[in-house]
């Protein structure tokens, strides 16, 4: 794989993990019913 492609693939993968953590933090509390009625 070309270096530029390798760089982009790794960057996008890490970015997706960060996004998942952000969504997961809020979603976990929503699913636990903490958002209230």
């Amino acid at each position: 794989m070309e270096l530029h492609t390798k760089n982009r693939v790794l960057a996008v993968a890490i970015g997706l993990i960060a996004l998942l953590l952000y969504v997961g933090t809020v979603l976990m509390q929503l699913l636990a019913g903490k958002a209230g009625s």
Binding site: L3, N7, A18, A35
Partner: protein, 527 residues
């Protein structure tokens, strides 16, 4: 007609004029932008600290009203953490990592430009809250609900600013990880990486894991205030302590985000001025990784007074104490590196030695606080303020000062005035102790933090602290003067090696001083 090749593209210098700094994708330019921003915010945050200390010079309300005082304590912390220390280390990473690993630039240069340029807007947004009706956030840097939800209209601005700061940090962290994973010169194996690079890689992973959690927590603050949710409101089925858990899951590793790159800097400087290789290189790497891991499993030691089961208190006490083990490994390795070395004491080395002594003091008071029954006495007092200023001022800030003195001749091609550098060191080191050491005593005697007035029994300790703070603040003008002098080319010309024998200690010392705009366009051969 000649064909334009990839190599030709790399021959050009920087763009002319102001647009150079807006559009640059060069790691050295972006490093400079980060460092200049950090220096400006260091003075802004420092001015806020002086407002706090002026008010506390004597008992009673002197200069500012209590609400403004609380805004100053909140903004001072946020500005120093997110606006000064983190950008300073991001600047050092941008400048040094490609030069240290033999890479021509960062892996994602356009994203690098973006991750910097988000920063000034985020910081302006945060500072702009000072001029709003009701003022800036005043609930402390932790932004605890319900207090933070009871303020004026600053919350959405503060939250959006935190989101932007998080995006900036995550992009910088991604860039560092990708650069080190994919762009190392042939022969630059993992266990040959300079310690500064190692510590930054581990820091970058920490940032990726924690910034989204903090962003999530403050998003929930926003929906609680404006969209009728009750994540942190007990009346609606939520729990304010939940916010504390989320915050400190971010907040505790965050202090290691500030201190791990400091460890990296000190591990570069001490071998150079002791003229010996770093003692215990691999144990330094494993110790850094251990500290990074442990930082994720100790967060609730910030919440002992909230109340938790005894098993929880025991777990967090012992887990926190464990951090002293890898930290001790580092301190003893630095001492062993100096042992029987041919040491000289130029300004960077003076700061590095002061770091080892004073950061260790901050570490020891941290160990005291890790003991849950004892922490009930220390919690929310000036003892805590003394502890974290020993770790973050004589720790992180001293490491940044050491790093700037160490690499400034490489960056600018000119030596700073060593006499003034030493004067800056002694003034700063003495005044920082005059400022923060008495706070241990006022804290142990029960003086609460974040309070603009206090009982007369604390008057002497506070007067001393204020005198120390003002001397320290004004001493930093010497630092700014020395940087400006170096940039203007006033000092003696720096050699390629800058410090005697430095070539043994890193690839950056094999480049000219100052290095050309593009370096390592041909990868070096690392033995």
């Amino acid at each position: 007609m000649t064909a334009t090749t990839h190599d030709d593209h790399h021959d050009h210098g920087p763009a002319k004029g102001f647009m150079r700094w807006i559009t640059t994708t060069n790691h050295k330019d972006i490093g400079t932008l980060y460092m200049v921003t950090a220096l400006i915010m260091f003075f802004v945050g420092g001015a806020m600290a002086l407002v706090i200390r002026a008010e506390l010079f004597e008992p009673g309300i002197q200069y500012v009203d209590p609400l403004f005082f609380n805004q100053m304590t909140t903004l001072h912390a946020l500005v120093m953490v997110f606006g000064a220390v983190m950008p300073a280390f991001a600047g050092l990473a941008n400048w040094m990592i490609p030069m240290m690993i033999g890479a021509p630039d960062m892996a994602l240069p356009r994203m690098n430009n973006w991750s910097f340029w988000v920063l000034p807007f985020a910081l302006c947004l945060l500072s702009s809250t000072l001029f709003m009706e009701g003022g800036a956030p005043s609930a402390g840097w932790t932004l605890y609900p319900p207090l933070v939800l009871q303020g004026g209209n600053n919350l959405p601005f503060a939250v959006f600013s935190v989101h932007l700061l998080g995006i900036s940090s995550i992009m910088a962290a991604i860039n560092i990880i990708v650069t080190v994973f994919n762009m190392r010169a042939p022969g630059m194996t993992w266990m040959k990486l300079p310690l500064f690079v190692w510590t930054w890689v581990i820091t970058a992973f920490l940032l990726i894991a924690i910034m989204p959690v903090f962003a999530g927590a403050v998003t929930m603050l926003l929906t609680d205030k404006f969209f009728g949710t009750s994540f942190f409101n007990a009346a609606g089925g939520g729990d304010p302590v939940l916010y504390q858990h989320l915050f400190w899951f971010f907040g505790h590793p965050e202090v290691y985000v500030l201190i791990l790159p400091s460890f990296g800097v000190i591990s570069q400087i001490i071998p150079t001025f002791a003229r010996k290789p770093l003692f215990g290189y691999s144990s330094m790497v494993y110790a850094t990784a251990s500290i990074g891991f442990l930082s994720f499993i100790v967060w609730a030691h910030h919440q002992y007074t909230v109340g938790m089961p005894i098993q929880g208190e025991l777990y967090f006490t012992y887990a926190t104490m464990l951090i002293a083990v890898p930290t001790g490994v580092k301190v003893f390795n630095w001492l062993a590196t100096m042992w029987q070395g041919a040491m000289t004491f130029e300004t960077p080395m003076l700061y590095a030695i002061a770091f080892v002594v004073l950061f260790t003091m901050g570490g020891f008071t941290g160990l005291m606080m890790s003991i849950s029954p004892a922490d009930l006495q220390y919690h929310d007092t000036y003892f805590i303020v003394a502890h974290f200023h020993y770790t973050l001022v004589t720790g992180a800030v001293f490491a940044i000062l050491a790093a700037v003195y160490y690499w400034l001749p490489k960056w600018t091609g000119h030596m700073y005035d060593e006499r003034l550098g030493k004067l800056h060191f002694w003034l700063t080191t003495i005044s920082v102790n005059v400022c923060f050491f008495p706070q241990h005593f006022s804290g142990l005697a029960g003086m609460p933090r974040r309070i603009p007035d206090y009982a007369v029994q604390f008057a002497e300790f506070n007067a001393m602290s204020t005198v120390g703070a003002f001397v320290m603040g004004f001493a930093q003008l010497i630092f700014a003067y020395l940087i400006i002098q170096c940039i203007r080319g006033a000092g003696e010309k720096a050699t390629e090696e800058v410090w005697e024998g430095a070539k043994e200690h890193g690839l950056e010392w094999h480049l000219p001083s100052p290095p050309p705009y593009h370096t390592w366009t041909t990868a070096p051969d690392v033995k």
